[in-house]
């Protein structure tokens, strides 16, 4: 310690106080107002925002506004006007950022509408393609059905032609379908239901003609009026069954064939004469049309009430 010198502690205290004072002065001179800090931050956000490029003019104006605030602060320090200018700069940066966002949102909306339009067009194309495929499938189905119908018609025609040409039997078309009539005397002995040897040849021809034909078949036995009615009913049934058995054991599917005895109930000629009785003793083989295949009309029903009366010779 010297006489004129300051005591060591006082000197230290004096130096410290001076440093603090200088620090305070320096601090006050360089202290940035919060408005300017906010403006800088807001401007940075506006520049880095995704929509900045869409609001380039506004970002530029915000930059100029911030520069004015910075210049004012540099020249005048932290004055109320500095804070006002910084405040304005911050708001302008906020506005610039918001305008950029606005454009992005408008673009998103437009993009969604464009997507929808594109999606609708794709849907329309897909619908047209689907419709086209459906039409094509329908046309193919119709073509297939037509082919099948033609094949069926051809098969039926072949059957009809074959049956029409057979000797010893007649083939006629009536409401029940194609009716092939075989004389009872050719097939059976009097009062019997066993097929005669000569009958088998006739039935073989029938089997050959019917094998490819898809139609359902009803075999109907008839007798003349000689003898008891109930006995004739049983006999006609047995004869129909005998014919059915022959057909089904020679290649005609059983589910296509039904047998029915009608006895003497449906004569086609006068039983008083020998010729008429011979005509009444018969077996009918009925081929039902395609429309009847699911509901085979039975002899004696309303559908065949006039069977044998309105028959037309097959051309």
């Amino acid at each position: 310690m010297t006489r004129f010198g300051m005591p060591g502690g006082a000197k230290t205290l004096s130096l410290t106080a001076g440093a603090v004072l200088l620090g305070l002065v320096a601090g006050c001179a360089s202290q940035t107002p919060v408005e300017l800090k906010n403006a800088r931050s807001a401007y940075q956000e506006a520049v880095e925002a995704p929509g900045a490029s869409y609001a380039a003019t506004d970002v530029y104006e915000a930059k100029k506004s911030l520069q004015r605030a910075e210049d004012y602060f540099k020249n005048e320090g932290d004055e109320p006007e500095t804070r006002d200018l910084a405040y304005v700069a911050e708001r302008m940066a906020i506005i610039a950022k918001s305008k950029g966002n606005n454009v992005i949102l408008l673009n998103q909306k437009q993009q969604a509408l464009n997507d929808l339009e594109q999606w609708k067009q794709q849907q329309a194309v897909a619908t047209r393609q689907q419709l086209g495929q459906t039409k094509e499938q329908l046309a193919q189905s119709q073509q297939q059905l037509e082919s099948e119908r033609q094949a069926r018609a051809a098969a039926e025609q072949r059957t009809t032609d074959a049956l029409t040409k057979m000797k010893g039997m007649t083939a006629k078309q009536d409401q029940r379908g194609l009716v092939l009539t075989l004389s009872g005397s050719v097939l059976f002995a009097t009062g019997k239901s066993e097929l005669l040897p000569g009958a088998q040849k006739r039935l073989d021809d029938v089997v050959a003609a019917l094998k490819e034909d898809p139609r359902s078949i009803t075999i109907v036995g008839h007798t003349d009026s000689t003898g008891a009615e109930d006995r004739n009913m049983v006999l006609s049934q047995k004869r129909a069954d005998a014919v059915k058995t022959y057909l089904t054991t020679h290649g005609i599917p059983e589910d296509r064939v039904t047998a029915q005895g009608m006895g003497q109930s449906q004569p086609v000629a006068d039983n008083k004469s020998a010729e008429g009785r011979a005509n009444n003793r018969r077996v009918e083989i009925i081929l039902h049309g395609a429309a009847d295949m699911q509901g085979t009309p039975m002899p004696g029903s309303g559908q065949d009430s006039n069977s044998g009366r309105d028959n037309k010779k097959i051309p």
Partner: protein, 120 residues
Amino acid sequence: MKIIGWIGAASIALVACASSPVPADRLAKSTAAVRSAQETGADRVPNAALHLKVANEELDLAKRLIKDGDNRRAEYVLLRAQVDADAALQLAREDQARVDAQHTMDEVQKTKNSQREGGS
């Protein structure tokens, strides 16, 4: 931007004139900006409503300053009011654009979904 131009002009004028005139033009523009923000529905959008509230308060303060004869200070406060009103207006528009975009995207998705469900 007009505000920038005005800032420059106002700074010069304020420095040059010791006694500033009543900022009638600035008062009219700020008042119009506030009204425009209100009409846009800024008061219904939280972020925008805050700026609108501040703008109204600044407008009231500026009127008091003018009444007290502090036209120079009033001019700056009116400038604050105007940019706050502009910010409120823009934020309200952005909000509306966001609602519109979301609504459109939802409708588009709904349309697609309903078409898919109907077509399955």
